[in-house]
């Protein structure tokens, strides 16, 4: 069987530098190292263009080149006869290579030196194994189909978005051994992503926000492509610098509080995969590990398949959610007991505090305030998604806004931070707002 690019994908992880030979039209050969040879598809690779070099000058005038890559596990060398096609300096391929290069640079002690100017796309015309350079046969790849099947079965049994996201994270842990993962959902305006579910962190971090373009997660959202790094990098990680940035932004608003982003302090490998429903970005699935090179092309494939299934199922659940709204059931919530809880709302950004504790802000904050007002003014505890969607005070940016994700966020924040209040689903498209202590509401105007 002839060698395929697919079979040697580990060579394109950037673990071992590749070399390229080119030739000027005057017949002078040139040989150079390449930091990143990226697998594009079964017929194409892309090389990182970082410097205006002789290599680059040569391929622009004579597109035929030879690349040798090394398999990071077996040491086998593969020679690729390639032909330069074009350079991309923006878009998914570029963003993906840029992030990966940042990880490679960090590993090589070249942060700040390696900077991606473009992705040079080459067609691969032949692949040959260099004679006698391997310690072992190419390892049989685990296609991951069995694991995927188990995960998909969990997803398909979910009856709501919260269950779907839990099934996804539990499935990753059970079948792929991915212990640290989270799902962030995006708002329709594309202004931020907020954590709605996580596994494997001391704090769930539900409610923590990331702006598109920020780190691995934000880049995956903006470029709508999987982003993966194999070594910790300050450029794309969400490390301390980002947390400090978040803190400083929190202070500027005076009243705004930031929920700490969950995450491994010693994170080395990270992968973020966009969750799309058709053209619409629903969110991002993110996983990380303290191990270097934990996520390879196979894991990227698996997570991409799962994310696309989650996107499709989530869209389906949204439709069902609207179709099945029923009349509220009779009130059955317990009557509030104990000392009154003082709840403040700052009109400026809909941020809500219970006592001195920051709870939530934004759309989820507006929803909570409406639920509290309904409880205090009308003693009403039964609600429907539809009523929230139509309420002008909640200011949902538009109809495609994922209300269900906001409710999950709110429900989980209350569970974690304010057990006196709670959201309990009572059926598809409806829920009960439980108030277990008397509440005193105070509005703080702008």
């Amino acid at each position: 069987m002839p060698l395929t690019l697919h079979a040697i994908r580990p060579c394109f992880e950037g673990a071992v530098p590749a070399v390229i030979a080119t030739c000027a039209l005057d017949g002078t050969p040139n040989v150079s190292y390449i930091s990143e040879v990226h697998y594009v598809d079964a017929r194409h690779v892309a090389l990182s263009f970082q410097f205006f070099s002789k290599t680059r000058q040569n391929v622009l005038e004579n597109p035929r080149a030879t690349v040798v890559v090394i398999h990071p596990d077996t040491g086998a060398q593969y020679k690729l006869a390639v032909r330069y096609l074009r350079t991309e300096d923006s878009g998914p391929l570029f963003e993906c290579m840029k992030a990966k290069l940042a990880g490679i640079a960090s590993h090589a002690g070249m942060t700040g030196v390696f900077r991606l100017r473009g992705s040079d796309v080459y067609r691969v015309e032949s692949i040959t194994e260099v004679y006698g350079t391997s310690i072992a046969a190419l390892p049989a790849r685990s296609a991951g189909a069995a694991e995927l099947r188990c995960c998909m079965a969990r997803l398909s049994s979910a009856s709501d978005l919260a269950g779907l996201l839990d099934a996804l994270l539990d499935g990753l842990a059970a079948h792929f051994g991915i212990a640290q993962a989270m799902v962030l959902m995006g708002d329709a305006a594309g202004e931020k992503l907020y954590t709605v579910a996580s596994r494997g962190y001391p704090q769930s971090g539900v409610g923590a926000e990331i702006r598109p373009g920020e780190g691995v997660i934000g880049t995956a959202a903006l470029a709508r492509t999987p982003i993966r790094i194999s070594h910790a990098t300050s450029e794309f990680g969400y490390g301390r610098a980002m947390r400090e940035d978040a803190r400083s932004r929190g202070i500027t608003a005076g009243i705004e509080q930031e929920i700490a982003f969950p995450g491994l302090p010693e994170s080395q490998s990270q992968i973020a995969v966009p969750i799309l429903a058709g053209e619409r970005l629903l969110g991002v699935l993110f996983a990380e590990s303290a191990e270097t090179s934990r996520f390879g092309y196979d894991e990227e494939d698996a997570l991409a398949v799962l994310a696309s299934h989650v996107g499709a199922v989530a869209a389906l659940l949204e439709e069902r959610d609207d179709a099945h709204e029923e009349a509220p059931a009779s009130a059955q919530s317990a009557s509030p007991e104990g000392a009154p809880l003082r709840i403040r709302r700052y009109a400026e950004n809909d941020s809500i505090f219970a006592g001195e504790d920051y709870l939530i802000k934004g759309v989820a904050g507006a929803i909570l305030w409406k639920l509290l007002r309904n409880f205090v003014d009308e003693q009403r505890t039964e609600h429907t998604n539809r009523e929230l969607r139509l309420d002008p005070t909640i200011r949902l940016p538009d109809l495609s806004e994922n209300l269900e994700a906001r409710l999950i966020l709110l429900q989980r924040r209350l569970e974690e931070r304010c057990p006196a209040l709670g959201i309990e689903k009572t059926g598809r498209g409806r829920f009960r707002f439980n108030v277990r202590r008397p509440v005193r509401l105070a509005e703080i105007p702008r």
Partner: protein, 167 residues
């Protein structure tokens, strides 16, 4: 020295530091091209530099060399890059008079020492000796390619990459 020996030729592009560097535990990658300007390349097994530093000989394993030895015989054009894995220090030499020469008595020992030194350097940055041996591959046979470096470039990643070694 030049005046004393009466040698009127320009200084060789390699100084003694460069000569020591390319004969140490560095990756050696040799490139050629055929009549259609299609390049080929092979990882080499070591290098030796003549006493006057005007002649460089690189060792390759012929069964891995693809069209490279034929290319050399046909046109003599060559480029060789030398890079130290642990530091990324890299230089490239070019020549137009390359030819396959007879192995010297010392070449087998040069290849063995090169493997040892290169493997040590790779192990410094976390690779195993097994991996280094695999990449270098067994070299049951060797071929020697000699050329006169006509140009030498610094190629360590960074702003100075591509500059000539001789100002």
């Amino acid at each position: 020295m030049r005046g004393m020996t009466g040698d009127k030729r320009p200084d060789p592009p390699l100084d003694s530091d460069h000569a020591a560097f390319i004969q140490g535990g560095v990756s050696v990658v040799v490139a050629t091209r055929d009549a259609d300007c299609v390049p080929d390349l092979v990882r080499g097994c070591g290098c030796r530099v003549s006493r006057d530093r005007r002649r460089v000989t690189v060792l390759v394993e012929p069964s891995r060399a693809g069209t490279l030895l034929d290319d050399i015989a046909a046109n003599g054009m060559i480029a060789v890059v030398f890079s130290q894995p642990s530091t990324h220090r890299t230089i490239q030499l070019k020549g137009s008079d390359a030819r396959v020469v007879k192995l010297s008595a010392a070449d087998r020992a040069i290849a063995a020492r090169h493997l040892r030194d290169w493997s040590e350097d790779l192990c410094r940055i976390g690779y195993t000796p097994e991996f280094a041996n695999a990449v270098r591959g067994a070299a049951p046979r060797l071929a020697a390619i000699a050329f006169t470096p006509s140009a030498a470039f610094q190629q360590t990643p960074g702003p100075g990459a591509g500059k000539s070694l001789v100002p």
